[in-house]
């Protein structure tokens, strides 16, 4: 999240500094950037630096010992558990990303191009956000009575005679984790894509149609390329959220599946803070690489 916030914050702050009167010169722009620098410095940079420091410390069950040892990294990177857990988390990220992108795009497309009145658009968009009036955890946990062995889905299907035995893999499985994540995170895709689709100049589409493009060609050659910045922002949101998730994986897999954040949480609950810090640094580097990759493919600033 922090990463995503930062990359969006940069373009909005720049135009402001350019508007300052020239008489104050460069000093004014420095002054104006101070609040943001302070906030980012104290609440982002400093904690990250601390995290990096602590990741080199030694520890036992009760204390941390300041030092410069690599054991935390050796233990983290040298264990097959870590690799398997990272792979598992990346797998969730990939599946959830693909599903939220697909669903999110079509919801946004419907809102932007098929709903005619602006009022209706806003109303429907607000309807999309209604589930967010409750907490993340509640939305996730409410799946349990639906998917359980004696839950809504299974009991309905059994009563209708579609199946004779309850389907076991609906709950406490990878399926349940992906389902809950898609449910939780799709709106993070809808919002930025909807935003970019609304900015597309309708005359471009008319021009394409006049030039003889089919509906498919308009979609592929006009709308999709122009929606890319929204997709990229949505992707950053979803990928960082999934990579950092622990509660969804823990609850929906019934503790049977592991995620990187869950691994960190386990270490923290055993007070192995330096080990958790090393893990956090590794995760941070990985997520930054992913975000960097996304920004390479799509230039958010240019196309906004």
């Amino acid at each position: 999240m922090a990463v995503a916030d930062q990359s969006i914050a940069v373009p909005t702050s720049k135009p402001k500094t350019r508007k300052t009167p020239l008489s104050f010169g460069r000093l004014a722009s420095y002054l104006q950037s101070i609040p943001l620098c302070l906030i980012l410095g104290f609440f982002l940079l400093l904690p990250i630096l601390l995290l990096v420091f602590v990741s080199f410390w030694d520890y036992d069950f009760a204390r941390m010992y300041p030092g410069f040892v690599f054991t935390n990294y050796v233990e983290t990177l040298g264990s097959w558990v870590t690799w398997k857990t990272y792979l598992n988390t990346l797998k969730f990220a990939a599946i959830v990303w693909a599903l939220t992108l697909f669903i999110g795009f079509w919801v946004a497309y419907f809102l932007a191009f098929h709903v005619r009145s602006a009022t209706m658009q806003m109303v429907l968009f607000l309807v999309c956000t209604v589930p967010f009036l409750t907490s993340n955890i509640i939305r996730m946990i409410s799946w349990i009575p639906v998917l359980g062995r004696n839950g809504l889905v299974n009991s309905t299907l059994v009563e209708m005679g579609v199946i004779s035995q309850p389907i076991e893999w609906l709950l406490y499985s990878d399926f349940a984790v992906v389902l809950a994540m898609v449910h939780l995170f799709t709106l993070f895709m809808v919002t930025p894509i909807f935003n970019t689709l609304m900015r597309i100049d309708r005359s471009l589409i008319e021009a394409a149609r006049d030039a003889g493009a089919s509906a498919w060609q308009i979609m592929w050659n006009v709308i999709l390329p122009l929606a890319k910045p929204g997709m990229a922002i949505g992707t950053i949101f979803v990928v960082t959220l999934v990579m950092a998730d622990f509660s969804t994986v823990q609850v929906m897999s019934g503790g049977q599946s592991a995620s990187v954040a869950l691994m960190m949480k386990n270490q923290m609950s055993l007070l192995q803070y330096p080990a958790a810090a090393a893990n956090a640094v590794v995760l941070l580097v990985l997520v930054l690489l992913l975000v960097g990759g996304i920004l390479r493919i799509v230039d958010i600033r240019k196309e906004l």
């Binding site: 069950f61 009760a62 204390r63 233990e75 264990s79 097959w80 558990v81 398997k84 857990t85 598992n88 349990i144 009575p145 359980g148 062995r149 004696n150 839950g151 076991e168 709950l171 406490y172 823990q250 897999s253 019934g254 503790g255 049977q256 592991a258 691994m263 386990n266 609950s269 055993l270 007070l271």
Partner: protein, 431 residues
């Protein structure tokens, strides 16, 4: 979340009672006078004791009653057991009384943050059940494996960091609360007699079992299962060798991959929901969770098993920094704690008090018969806050105190190879 709200409540109560000021203090003094035996000095010279611990016995009712009887304000903080161990060692000045489990004490005491108690100052020392003094509930009991409380209960001298082999005049902690844990079952869904820990691995229950995902306790339940299946014979389940840990974890990984488990639970409410919804028919469980499932009107049994129970126990320790009036107040508090009211309260919650004789005076004959003697309840059995826990005619699962605590196979413990065990446990969860 429940833990922090509990803390907040405890703090609130103490603040509220502070605000009531002189009136409350006078009332407290009168109450103490009526009870007799407790000096009213603390009412005139208010003293606050800060107690932190693992939560089971951090009950607001105890703080309120303590205020009323002794005039001592108790500020309680509840944490989980790992955080409790850390806080005990790293912030020794932040508490006056440590309410911790015996296996935590084993880690914490050698760092010098707890001062041993002089048994001559403990009014009810003689009433404490022998389980905590010799490890034997009755003279012919077998001493259980793991961190048995008596092995960390004594030191030779006030400044000694080594635990004594036998009873001495210096007690490290006064035991307060303990219980025997076993597997919980849904008698309506298992469809057969459950008699041994090995039954949880029965292929008939494939995908319908659960164990708890708290490494230090989960590994013990796994050890009970392994031994019951005849896979291995541990020298000490509570202190496994690396090879024994490997064998246990490999067994768990295989069972997990074969789909034997439905889920792993971490918190109390998760275990209740798994059982109540029928996702699971047999699992590791704690006794209040069994009571919670039953209170929903769903059949649930805390099944005694032939290999015995896995037991846990906690007590109160004095912080090393206590001295003078505060130390006297702390002794006063501990003597009050063991004088019976708290014991009766804990017994009626389904736990056990360490001073049974004094607790008996605060329980009705029917309550004593049901909870401690394993007799059928004559009337309805109520919890301390008045809710019906068991209907008339019910018999406690596992029977009497002697039958339950007399069949402890192993105590919760901390292993020498603790760190290795946790690493391997994480592999099991990730596998």
């Amino acid at each position: 979340m429940t833990e922090s709200s509990k803390t907040a409540k405890a703090a609130m109560i103490s603040r509220r009672s502070m605000l009531k000021g002189a009136a409350a203090l006078a009332g407290a003094a009168a109450g103490a006078g009526a009870l007799g035996g407790f000096p009213t000095v603390w009412a005139q010279n208010p003293i606050t004791l800060r107690q932190f611990g693992t939560g089971v016995s951090n009950l607001n009712a105890i703080a309120e009653k303590c205020k009323a009887d002794l005039g001592i304000t108790l500020e309680m903080t509840a944490t989980d057991s790992d955080a409790a161990a850390q806080r005990a060692v790293t912030q020794p000045d932040s508490y006056d009384i440590a309410d911790i489990e015996y296996w935590i004490l084993k880690k914490v005491y050698p760092t010098g943050v707890i001062q041993p108690m002089d048994v001559t100052k403990l009014k009810y020392y003689d009433k404490i059940v022998p389980l905590f003094k010799t490890g034997k509930l009755t003279p012919d009991s077998v001493i259980a494996q793991g961190t048995a409380p008596h092995t960390v209960g004594y030191v030779d001298a006030p400044d000694s960091k080594e635990f004594a082999k036998a009873e001495t005049g210096f007690f490290t902690m006064v035991p307060t609360i303990y219980n025997a844990d076993t597997l919980g079952i849904r008698p309506d869904l298992v469809g057969r007699e459950i008699t041994t820990w090995a039954d949880i691995m029965d292929p008939a229950f494939k995908g319908k079992t659960s164990i708890l995902n708290i490494p230090s306790i989960g590994i013990m339940d796994a050890a009970m299962i392994m031994e019951a299946m005849g896979n291995i014979k541990y020298a000490d389940k509570g202190n496994m060798t690396k090879a024994e840990i490997d064998a246990t974890i490999d067994f768990l990984i295989k069972a997990k991959q074969d789909g034997q488990f439905r889920a792993f639970w971490k918190s109390f409410d998760e275990s209740v929901n798994l059982m109540a919804s029928g996702e699971v028919v047999i699992q590791s469980m704690w006794s209040p969770a069994v009571a919670a499932v039953r209170s929903k009107g769903i059949a649930c049994k805390y099944q005694p098993l032939k290999e015995g129970y896995r037991s846990w126990g906690g007590g109160l320790g004095l912080a090393a920094h206590l001295s003078g009036a505060q130390l006297d107040a702390a002794y006063e508090y501990i003597n009050w704690y063991t004088s019976g009211w708290v014991g009766g309260y804990l017994n009626r919650q389904g736990y056990y008090s360490a001073a049974m004789d004094t607790a008996k005076e605060y329980m009705s004959e029917d309550e004593w018969g049901f909870w401690i003697e394993g007799k059928a309840a004559v009337g309805d059995i109520l919890s301390p806050d008045g809710a019906v826990m068991e209907k008339a005619g019910a018999v406690r699962d596992g029977g009497s105190f002697l039958e339950r605590m007399g069949h402890v196979a192993c105590w919760n413990s901390v292993m020498d190879e603790d760190r290795y065990m946790v690493t391997r446990w994480n592999e099991f969860i990730a596998a």
